[in-house]
């Protein structure tokens, strides 16, 4: 800061990007590569300092920008094993999937830790010529003649043709200028995570994977005490990322469990406990996750300003998988392309920047968000997190628990649990709703 900071404030930039996360750096990289003067302002002391993910990055959108990025980027493990579990306090039913297709670079996914990964991505942007300042908070957007023309940060006014808001889920700046409404408790979930250190071989052995390979695991039911949400677990290189996610509007329902207690409950589940035994807690973190998908997208473009990444609500929670980082990267890149088009025409008005909307429409972002637009409502069906895990538990108990007594007909073992859903017809309806939403 200091002298350099003052010196810079005399200039006008082509683009100021608020936030050095994945959307911000994807845009910075693309714009700097095309020769524009770009300034990224990050409030953390380094990019990634304020960011947290479950987390898995689907590689496809970054692969388009930096082919074979995983060979040099600090990814933790390539995810080759998928697990989905329905758990009660006493039992758990798991589906596991593995396929060579999951290893194919065109559709591979990787566990990542954001403090390392975002730092690397920012370095790629810097190498293209983007300027980054860290440890500076943007307090306000500057407006003149009905358009955004810069930012106020650490007491300095900085000017640019365009400002890109990549400032994360809370995006207070987008709210300040009325592009985004206050978040409502049913639109967001809070994720709480522990990174538990274990040595590399132990992680591989416990999850049955080769070095460099790993597993992703989502668990519904017991972790949240039946509240809408679940547990997650991702293998890192020398640690396990484990945590819980719960929709804010559902906190206090069901088992009335405190949010910080949910992760303890998850860790003590008999299926999970042996996998982290002997591990050492390295970090405890929390972050909001936008979950309402298509139905929470704010105004994305206005005069002199665009919004990308979590700030735009670009996240998909499908229950069996969660995606956000691949959407953040794609939206950052598309915002940059729209800015380049606007620059050609010399028109940074809402109209001049509207190519962003068309590019998003034609991308996987809007296509997938629209395709899965009913998932958030399905995912907020309480039965999925309460009664359904109980049905699965009862069914599996009927199959696998042998006590030497007369066997009970399988159908009878699940009747009490099915009755809790409201009978077989209601259970069937839930099944139809689920298939329909996919």
């Amino acid at each position: 800061m200091g002298e350099k900071w003052l010196l810079m404030s005399e200039e006008k930039f082509d683009v100021i990007i608020v936030g050095g996360g994945l959307a911000g750096s994807a845009a910075a990289y693309t714009l700097a590569k095309a020769g524009l003067e770009v300034l990224v302002i990050e409030r953390g002391n380094y990019c990634g300092a304020k960011n947290m993910t479950g987390g898995r990055l689907y590689g496809h959108s970054l692969e388009k920008m930096i082919p074979n990025f995983a060979e040099t980027a600090p990814v933790e493990r390539k995810i080759i094993k998928e697990r989905v579990t329905m758990a009660t306090g006493t039992g758990a039913m798991t589906i596991e999937y593995g396929s060579n297709k999951l290893k194919d670079p065109s559709c591979a996914s990787y566990s990542v830790l954001r403090s390392k990964f975002d730092k690397w991505f920012a370095e790629q942007g810097e190498a293209q010529g983007a300027m980054y300042v860290t440890g500076i908070r943007v307090d306000k957007l500057l407006q003149k003649d009905g358009r955004v023309c810069g930012v106020l940060a650490a007491g300095d006014e900085l000017y640019s043709d365009v400002v890109l808001l990549a400032d994360g889920v809370n995006s207070i700046l987008a709210q300040q200028i009325g592009m985004k409404k206050e978040l409502s408790p049913h639109q967001v979930a809070v994720g709480v995570k522990e990174v538990i250190g274990l040595d590399e071989k132990t992680v591989s052995d416990r999850f049955g994977v080769l070095p460099g390979e790993g597993a992703a695991w989502l668990v519904a039911g017991d972790p949240t005490g039946g509240a809408v949400g679940g547990g997650f677990l991702y293998t890192d290189k020398e640690s396990v990322s484990i945590g819980t996610v719960v929709t804010l509007s559902d906190i206090g329902s069901g088992g009335n469990i405190k949010v910080p207690d949910m992760v303890e409950r998850f860790k003590s589940n008999p299926v999970i406990a042996p996998l982290i035994e002997g591990g050492k807690l390295l970090e405890y973190s929390a972050h909001l996750v936008p979950e309402a998908g298509y139905k929470m997208i704010p105004e994305l473009v206005w005069n002199g300003v665009l919004i990308a990444g979590d700030a735009a609500g670009f996240v998909m929670n499908l229950g069996y998988t969660i995606r956000g980082m691949d959407l953040a990267i794609e939206s950052g890149r598309l915002a940059a392309e729209a800015i380049l088009k606007a620059k050609e025409k010399g028109d940074f008005s809402m109209n001049g920047l509207s190519a962003y909307l068309t590019l998003l429409e034609n991308s996987f972002i809007m296509r997938d968000l629209r395709h899965y637009q009913n998932m958030p409502s399905l995912m907020s069906t309480p039965q999925l997190f309460n009664e359904l895990p109980a049905v699965a538990d009862a069914l599996m108990r009927g199959l696998f628990v042998v006590d030497g007594k007369t066997p009970v007909k399988l159908i009878k073992t699940i009747v009490p649990a099915i009755n809790k859903i409201g009978g077989f017809i209601e259970a069937g309806k839930l099944g139809i709703k689920a298939v329909g939403a996919m």
Partner: protein
């Protein structure tokens, strides 16, 4: 793994605390028990405490998630902003 207290967990995190400049302020006189208890339940860092009818809050240890802002702005939460640049939580894993 044995259970760890929330204080011990937060003790492992890296913070650059801005002691005299709280980024979250609360309405001291607010007395809706239900709304207060919601934040006691919800805050991942356990920073909202309600004992003997008295609400207390400490911004040190805040993970900057925004949960209390979304649940209670204008009620328990009087103002909410991010800490000034470089202050607050600093994730080294993420």
């Amino acid at each position: 793994m044995g259970k760890m207290s929330l204080d011990n967990k937060l003790g492992l995190d890296r913070f650059n605390i801005d002691q005299h400049n709280p980024h979250i302020t609360i309405n001291d006189g607010y007395d809706n028990k239900e709304k207060i208890n919601l934040l006691v339940m919800a805050c991942p860092a356990g920073l909202y405490q309600y004992e003997n009818g008295k609400l207390s809050f400490n911004h040190e240890g805040c993970l900057e998630c925004g949960t209390c802002r979304v649940l209670s702005k204008g009620r328990v939460v009087k103002s909410w902003s991010y800490p000034v640049g470089g202050k607050g939580i600093e994730f080294t894993q993420g």
